[in-house]
């Protein structure tokens, strides 16, 4: 039986290696410095690049983090420290449900909430969609990490006369900071790869833009767009963009894994 179940494990890892290997081999042939620093050009012209999409993705992540991280972390603090068990479980249930909401539904929701009233697509709307996906993940990982902080540290802070808010922020949250940061990084890796919530919020933009009131390009949208085009050159650009995106996401995941391992040893 060990052999059979081991084969299943091998099968899954082989699938991972095939997918990642194909991305690496196909993507690297198109990848060069110019591709990273140039903006897109019309089909057929040389030296086309994805600089605007890289900047766009970073801006979207920044907007989502500014909104999502404080809300998520403090909500997690509430769940771990102050909530009664019944009320807390009800909140936890709703928050977990939000984790399961399909990302396209989030996109349509933010479209009805922001894009329709404002009359145009914007990086802000895209960032809000991503923040919605980020918040429940951050809240629940923060809660888990805060629960690991020993009770004696809280008691020590209170015994020294610290008010509850200082105990929470200065002692408990600080003690859990490493774990909270890990959760935040994983949430960022997750939203960096989202496409569906951006389709009708941030849309895309052909040039470099840093205006959060205007549509903005993103790596994921560009991959989707290039993949659906009939041009060989754009297909190659889709693979190269994928290599950049997946490289970024895997780097975060592996770094987090290594850091977490060092901390708990």
């Amino acid at each position: 039986m060990t052999v059979v179940t081991g084969l299943f494990a091998a099968l899954v890892i082989v699938a991972l290696v095939i997918i990642l290997g194909y991305i690496a081999v196909t993507g690297v042939s198109e990848l060069n410095l110019g591709f990273l620093v140039n903006n897109p050009k019309p089909v057929g012209e040389p030296n086309s690049g994805i600089a605007n999409a890289i900047v766009g993705t970073l801006i979207l992540i920044a907007i989502a983090s500014v909104i999502g991280l404080p809300v998520g972390i403090l909500a997690g603090l509430y769940l771990a420290e102050f909530s009664s068990s019944r009320f807390g479980n009800a909140l936890r249930f709703l928050i977990d449900t939000l984790t399961g909401v399909p990302s396209i539904v989030v996109g349509v929701f933010v479209w009805t909430l922001m894009v329709q009233p404002m009359g145009h697509f914007s990086a802000m709307a895209g960032g809000v969609s991503l923040a919605m996906i980020m918040m429940p993940i951050v809240a629940r990982t923060t809660e888990e990490m805060i629960r690991l902080v020993p009770q004696s540290m809280r008691e020590a802070a209170l015994a020294l006369g610290a008010p509850v808010w200082r105990m929470s922020l200065g002692v408990v949250l600080r003690a859990a900071a490493g774990g909270v940061a890990t959760g935040a990084m994983l949430a960022i890796a997750r939203i960096a790869g989202e496409t569906a919530p951006l389709l009708y919020t941030a849309l895309s933009y052909n040039y470099m833009s840093t205006d959060i009131n205007q549509p903005i390009a993103s790596l994921t949208y560009q991959i989707f767009y290039y993949a659906g085009s009939p041009y060989e050159q754009w297909h190659a650009m889709a693979w190269a963009s994928t290599l950049v995106l997946v490289g970024m996401i895997l780097a975060i995941n592996i770094a987090v894994k290594l850091l977490a391992r060092n901390r708990y040893q």
Binding site: M1, T2, V4, T5, G6, F8, L11, V12, I13, L16, Y22, I23, P70, V71, L74, A75, Y78, L79, F82, S83, S84, S85, F87, G88, A90, L91, F93, L94, T97, G100, V101, P102, S103, I104, V105, V108, F109, W111, T112, M132, M135, P136, A139, E144, R147, L158, V164, W165, G193, E194, T195, A196, L199, F224, A227, G228, A238, T242, L245, L250
Partner: protein
């Protein structure tokens, strides 16, 4: 020392799970502390409240479609934007078939991997393997779609589907002209995408089974395999939860499916034929929705998708919570 009344209350209870009621917490203590708790509470309420807001907002924006078609929207088979006739059945069908295919393929693999990780693999091997399996979940959906269009679909079209057809072509399931883009390809892509979550949760619930269970059966002369069966039986409800959680993921998956399912609002018996899922219909048509009612019909599709995934997730979480009692990382992955 009035300000310490809540604190001394806290320090007498050792377990973080037994909390004093919020009313009491807000009723006493320093102003700054009350304010601080209120702020953290309001952030938690913001996240939880979004679920309610999604329902209200989307219901409001699908009013036109609901007024015209009522509940018959769900079982109407027609989707004709030109004549403003809309119905959700083709999309519900496509979503159900592709997700079920994905789950059927993913479950044996995931449970196999979980058994390997919990029962067979040495600790030093189990950690890296489970990390690699979870890396599959880190790959973005659009990347699976890209890989699906350019690698998997041509491969299936040229060397796999013709063989299936020559062996089982008499079944209506495998008739027609396989283009590589269709229900079965979507199901296969989905299965790769949901293996990590089913594996993670199954591993968690299997680890939550008391070791005394398999050890007792081993002591009674059971083989290693029979002891594993005992563990699986004990983890039954949790594994069911894991499978349903995987189903929920498959149902809501958008980009990868949109790119490989072919996007045609038809109900066809053949798994080789193109179809549409609810999510892929929204992804494809929302920007083309020129009339008000067309857009309202698409938002109503989104609302249906939300309600389906809500129900699926609620059931799954109750089962997994029961099996792990809230412990384990994957319980809320």
């Amino acid at each position: 020392m009035k300000s310490l009344s809540t604190n001394s209350n806290r320090s007498t209870v050792a377990l973080p799970s037994t909390k004093s009621m919020p009313a009491k917490l807000f009723g006493s203590g320093r102003l700054a502390d009350r304010l601080f708790k209120l702020i953290t509470l309001s952030f938690a309420l913001v996240i939880a409240g979004l679920v309610v807001l999604i329902i209200i907002q989307m219901a409001r924006d699908s009013m036109l479609s609901f007024e015209k078609f009522g509940f018959s929207f769900i079982w109407r088979e027609i989707w004709d934007p030109v004549r403003s006739e809309f119905g959700a059945l083709p999309f519900i069908y496509g979503t159900a078939v592709s997700s079920i295919l994905g789950v059927l393929i993913a479950v044996p693999v995931s449970v196999g991997v979980a058994i390997f990780l919990v029962e067979h693999a040495p600790r030093a091997l189990a950690t890296p393997i489970s990390f690699l399996v979870q890396l599959l979940a880190a790959i973005p959906s659009v990347v699976y779609g890209l890989w699906g269009i350019f690698v998997l679909a041509p491969l299936l079209r040229d060397s796999v589907y013709p063989r299936i057809q020559s062996a089982f072509g008499f079944l209506p399931l495998f008739q027609g002209n396989p283009t590589g883009l269709g229900l079965l390809t979507a199901g296969i892509i989905l299965s790769i995408m949901i293996v990590p979550i089913i594996t993670a949760v199954t591993t968690d619930v299997m680890r939550a089974v008391p070791r005394a269970q398999p050890e007792a059966s081993l002591a009674l002369g059971a083989t290693k395999w029979e002891a594993t069966i005992v563990v699986l039986q004990n983890a039954r409800s949790g594994i069911t939860g894991a499978v349903i959680l995987g189903l929920g993921r498959a149902v809501g998956e958008t980009m990868a499916v949109t790119m490989v399912i072919g996007n045609r609002p038809d109900i066809s018996a053949s798994l080789f034929d193109p179809a549409f899922t609810i999510a892929s219909a929204i992804a494809n048509e929302f920007s083309e929705a020129t009339s008000e009612i067309y857009r309202h019909a698409l938002v109503e599709l989104g609302l249906i998708l939300f309600i389906i995934t809500f129900a699926i997730n609620a059931i799954a979480r109750l089962l997994v919570w029961g099996a792990t009692r809230g412990h384990g990382k994957a319980a809320h992955a």
